[in-house]
Structures are given as structure tokens and as C-alpha cells.
């Protein structure tokens, strides 16, 4: 199987079957009594200069995926290749070197900056650790970085508490940029910001990408921001990537019923246009005890859903060129009708796309 990759570029980052299980420990000896399957076999590529968005509800494993790629959390299994290097095989010194190329911007601009360090010291730390600049050259570089993210150079001597949320997020971006990475994991970088400031930061991220050819893994739950910034989108549910497609295809013709429900829930900012909603019943099941077969089947609204959905784990398969989805009821599928019948299927696959899932008036 070819991986869900960008059509015509060799990938900068390749993630294959990435898995992170957190053991649930019980008793005084801390015996593992089960596992929270936070990330369960995630596969995708990110091309140089591309923005791949990772979307899904809280608890779906999107942040854990981002952190496992950088080995801020050690993955349980799988492989991560960055520019030909096997990230999971690196020792500590090699990993530190690689971190120059892979950076992260965190969600919360209040807790991700050390309150005892000046802005200048925060941005400068990476330069020192990676021996990129010292003394006056480092100062000059810090000033230049602050200017690039739209902060005044004289702010270098100030402390994080003196800044607003948007300004702090700019500091976080300057810190990530200081080591000249080619890839940045943006973990909900604008979720904590007001809409006006959010727009400033989104524009900044896009400008920097254009100027420096940065690739982003943009983790977010806000689907309108994602449509604006992403080239491709991967939708996660309960630790699995359930759909992956170029942004226009995903929003124009969402295939996986979960994606359809997610899109229908986005409020339409036009009064009088009361959107139809696909209201999902119940809550997301616990990742410690995920449903069998398709993890989404207990909440699925696909008319052909049947007993096979609870038995067969749907492969993430290419439904149309570049558009990958995991659903055995959306044709075409590599899971044959015979196999489905053997698993108790009564309804043959049948294409389903509710109007409620679409935002553009066709």
C-alpha cells in the first residue's frame, strides 16, 4: 500500500503505524491492567513546505501524535522518518541535533514561556544550545527574530507577564524559528486567542511559511481556521486517522461519516442560514476500551451501517486520487462484499453524502 502522501513531492516527514499506548496501572505493584490507546496506528506524510492539519475532538490523540513525532513522548511502536533519518532510533545527542530541524509551538502562551526568563533569553536559548550564535551576534539575531514575528526588538529585555496572549504566541514562534527549523508542529497555536488576534497569528504563520519554506503539522480543532491554513487535512477519531485529503476535497466531499458530522457542527456565520446538523449521539467512547471494528460505528449515521462495521477494522484506503478514508460502506472499498457478508453484512456499500455536511452552496 502506498502511504497517504502528497502526490508529487518526496516527503519531509513520514509517519508509519505510529502507536502510543499509555498503560493503566492497578494495584501496589503497578501491574498494567490495560492501556489507553491514545494513538493507534497513525500513518501520514508531510511534504516540504506543506501544511498538514490534524483535526479531531479533544482526546482523539492529535496532540499525542504531534508530541510522539518529536519524541517529547516516546511512542510505543511505529516509525517516524524525518528527511531520511529514523527519528525513533536516535540517541539523545543525535535527537538534540535533529530538534534543530523540528520545532513545536504550544497552545497555551501562558504556560509555555518561563516567567523568570526575559523574552530575549527565551528566544536566545536555542541559539546557545545549538551553538548557532554567541555574544553580540546572538543579540542581533534575537532582535531580528523578534522583528520578524512583529514584535519590537526592545521587548527582548521584558518578561512574559508583560505581554498579551497574542504577543506571547509570537514569542513562542520566534523561539521555534531561532534554530531555523524546516518543520514545526503547531499544537493548537491559535485556540487560546481572540478572533482578531488569531487572524494576526494565522497570517504570520502563513507569511513565515512562504518566506522560509516551512512545513507545518497544524494541530487544531477549529475547522474554519484549518480550512484557511491547511493544504491537506487528516481527521482523527479515537487514535485513528479516519480520513485524509487535500483541503478542498475534504470540505467539498467529506467521505467518512465522522468527518461529515464534524463539518455539519461548524456554525455558519450567516444569520438566517440555520444549518442542518448531524447530531452525534452520545460521547466519544473511552480510548481505554475502544469499540471493535470501525471505532466510529456506534455513533455512525451511514444508512448502510450494519453488523460488519462492528467486526471489520476499516483500512484507510484511497477512495479517489489523493482522498483517503476509512469506511467499508463508502465505495469503492478494498474490503470485498464477500468478506463483508462473512462478517454479517446485510447492506452493500452505497455512497452517502448528507447535505448537512456541506458548507458551499453547490
Amino acid at each position: 500500500m502506498t502511504a497517504p502522501a502528497h502526490a508529487d513531492a518526496s516527503p519531509l516527514l513520514s509517519v508509519r503505524d505510529l502507536t502510543k499506548h499509555f498503560p493503566i496501572k492497578r494495584g501496589i505493584f503497578g501491574r498494567a491492567a490495560g492501556a489507553v490507546r491514545a494513538v493507534d496506528g497513525v500513518t501520514f506524510d508531510v511534504a516540504p513546505g506543506e501544511t498538514l492539519a490534524l483535526v479531531g475532538e479533544s482526546g482523539c490523540g492529535k496532540s499525542t501524535t504531534g508530541r510522539a513525532i518529536l519524541r517529547l513522548i516516546e511512542p510505543t511502536s511505529g516509525s517516524v522518518q524525518f528527511d531520511g533519518q529514523d527519528v525513533l532510533a536516535l540517541d539523545a545527542a543525535e535527537l538534540r541535533k535533529l530538534r534543530r530541524r523540528m520545532q513545536i509551538v504550544f497552545q497555551d502562551p501562558f504556560s509555555s514561556l518561563n516567567p523568570r526568563m526575559s523574552i530575549g533569553a527565551i528566544v536566545r536559548e536555542g541559539l546557545t544550545i545549538h551553538h548557532l550564535a554567541e555574544g553580540g551576534a546572538a543579540d542581533a539575531r534575537v532582535h531580528q527574530l523578534l522583528e520578524e514575528v512583529g514584535l519590537r526588538p526592545e521587548y527582548a529585555s521584558r518578561y512574559p507577564h508583560e505581554f498579551s496572549g497574542g504577543q506571547r504566541q509570537r514569542v513562542g514562534i520566534a523561539r521555534a524559528l531561532s534554530v531555523e527549523p524546516s518543520f514545526i508542529v503547531c499544537d493548537e497555536p491559535v485556540s487560546a486567542l481572540d478572533v482578531s488576534v488569531q487572524a494576526q497569528v494565522v497570517n504570520l504563520l502563513q507569511d513565515l511559511q512562504r518566506e522560509r519554506g516551512l512545513a507545518y503539522l497544524f494541530i487544531a480543532h477549529d475547522l474554519s481556521v484549518v480550512e484557511h491554513i491547511a493544504d491537506r487535512v487528516a481527521v482523527m477519531y479515537l487514535g485513528h486517522v479516519v480520513e485524509l485529503a487535500p483541503v478542498a476535497k475534504l470540505y467539498g466531499e467529506p467521505i467518512m461519516p465522522y468527518t461529515q458530522a464534524l463539518l455539519s457542527a461548524v456554525p455558519a456565520p450567516e444569520p438566517g442560514v440555520k444549518r442542518e446538523r448531524i447530531l452525534l449521539a452520545g460521547d466519544v467512547p473511552s480510548p481505554a476500551n475502544p469499540p471493535s471494528g470501525c471505532v466510529f460505528h456506534p455513533r455512525c449515521q451511514h444508512p448502510a451501517r450494519d453488523a460488519a462495521c462492528a467486526k471489520i477494522v476499516p483500512p484507510l484506503e484511497e477512495k479517489t486520487p489523493g482522498h483517503w478514508a476509512a469506511c467499508i460502506k463508502q465505495p469503492p472499498t478494498t474490503v470485498s462484499w464477500d468478506d463483508q457478508r462473512a462478517a454479517g453484512a446485510t447492506n452493500p456499500p452505497e455512497f452517502f453524502l448528507p447535505r448537512a455536511a456541506l458548507h458551499r452552496s453547490a
Partner: protein, 343 residues
Amino acid sequence: MTTPLLELENLHTFFYTDTGVARAVDGVSFAVGVGETVGVVGESGCGKSVTALSILRLVRPPGRIEPGSVMRFEGKDLMALDESEMQHVRGNRIAMVFQEPMTALNPVFTIGDQIGEVARVHAGMNKREALAKAVEMLKLVGIPAPEQRAGEYPHQLSGGMRQRVVIAMALVMNPALVIADEPTTALDVTIQAQILELLGDLTRRLGTSVLLITHDLGVVAENCTRVIVMYAGEVVEEAATSELFAHAHHPYTEGLLGAMPRVGGEKDRLATIPGTVPPPTNWPKGCRFRDRCPYSWERCEAEHPPLYQIGGGHTSRCHLAEEPERRQHPHPPLAAQRGATAA
């Protein structure tokens, strides 16, 4: 608007801090009609939440509702009520739904106890009746297995379920007004849709008025009949929702609408509002939005704009109402020229 249920006139709520007097709410007037859902929008620090707390008289020192502020509710002057009368209004007639359902619930009491407490305190029910009421309310807000859930603790519920519990608590006494302060901000979009649907459905059925405080204009567009835009402690624009989205008058409202990415919208560069809300201890003279405004001119510095009538119940605190031709000549706002947070 229908008969007014709540009327605010010239509400001032100040906080007396070490760094000066923070004029968090600085002369706010608006009304909410019977059965109406009114949205209040604006960035953090605009005074939305303090307005809500003021209506319930829950402002704590060093904060104070200033003399001269008028709040009329169901014909009563809220400012004239003593604490026990005010307590009767809270919970019975006006209820509040907070943003963070985890902090709004007490972690050491069961869900049933907490919903029941409202019925015990405000309706004098005994323990058994109160528990029955709690179960009934849980059923009303669509919580499965309500009898069992009533015996559970908040940490056993998901965020969406907790927010349903908070809504159940708010509706126990069938209040005339529910103030919902960012009720869905902490929730995922699918859960947000469920909760707003629920809140809309219940309040429609019960004829409850809702004051919906939010920073999400999409939420306003779908749920509110009228919108109040707040900036720097003041109302800067008020209009029917469709009018506001089609013909925003105040440059701040225009900026908020432009900064919002829309699914299915144009993929142009997002419009931004440079700079940030100024500190409430030091609101700028003249128009408070002046520094961030692309149309500001001399008059905006010299003269604090009143709320101009634009027509049809649409008001705007902007001198453009008198000099509309100025809109033809936008310029980079002062905040952007200074380069502090140029986008």
C-alpha cells in the same frame, strides 16, 4: 423587541486596584425582551463577563457597581434589593451558565445533590422531592440513565455532560432569564452544536430569555435575534443579527467579522485588527478604538462618540455615522504604524 424583561441603563462597574481604577464596564445600556436571545460579543477584556456578573450583583471587592447604575428586571430595581431579595432573584428568576463546567460544579457532591440543592433552597423541597426533581431535570437535558447519573460525581462525566448538568441546574426554577457566559467555549464543535441546540430548544419551549455572551460570531449568527458588540467597557454597536452581519457599521464590528475564517469562504488573507484592547485603567480619550481603526481622524481623538442611531434599532458608537464619506479613505491604523504588533 418585545416587552423588556431586563433593562440596563448607564451601568458602571469599576475595580479599585493598586494600579488605578479599572473601568471594566463604563456606561452600558441595553435591554433584553421576554423570550428573546441576545448575543453579547467582543474580545477578552471588553467587559462582557463583568456586565453579566453585575446583573446578578456578584461583583466582589475591589469591584463595585457605581451609584447611578440602573438595572431593572421584571419591573424591579435590582440595585434597590437587599441581599436576601437578590438571592431570591438569583436562581429563581435569573440563572447563570458558566464557561467552565468543571469549576461551576462542586467536585465533592453528587450531580443529584447539586441540582437538588437549587430546588431545596429556592422551592423549599425536601431531600426526596429534590432528588426526584434533579432526575427530572437530567432527563430534560437529555442525559441517559438519569437515575444512575444523579448519584455520580462531576469527574465521572464528560465535558459535554457536565455542561448539560449546569444547564439543568440553571433551569430548575424555570427562570425568566438565563445568562450564558461562553457556555460552549470549552467544548468541542460537535458537543457545542448539541449544547446550543439543547439550550435553544429548552428556552424556546419554556419562553426563557437568554443573554448569550460569546466571542464566536458563528454562534451568534445561528442563535441570537439581536447582537450587542462591546469594546473597552462600552456598547459600540447594537443591531438585529441579520442587519449586523449584512451592514456592520462600527469599524470594530467590521474588523471582527473580517478576522473570522469561514468554512466555504474566500481563502484570502485574513483581515486583522492590529493591536489589542487597551487596559481598563487607562481607556484612551475620544474614541477608544481609535488606535486600531483604519478610518480614524482628528475628531476621533477630540470627541468621545455617542451611540448614534443608524435606523431601525441599529446603533453605532462611531463618528462615521455623521461623516460616512470617511469610510472611502482607509489608512493603516495607528497601532499598525507603531509596529508593535503589526500583522
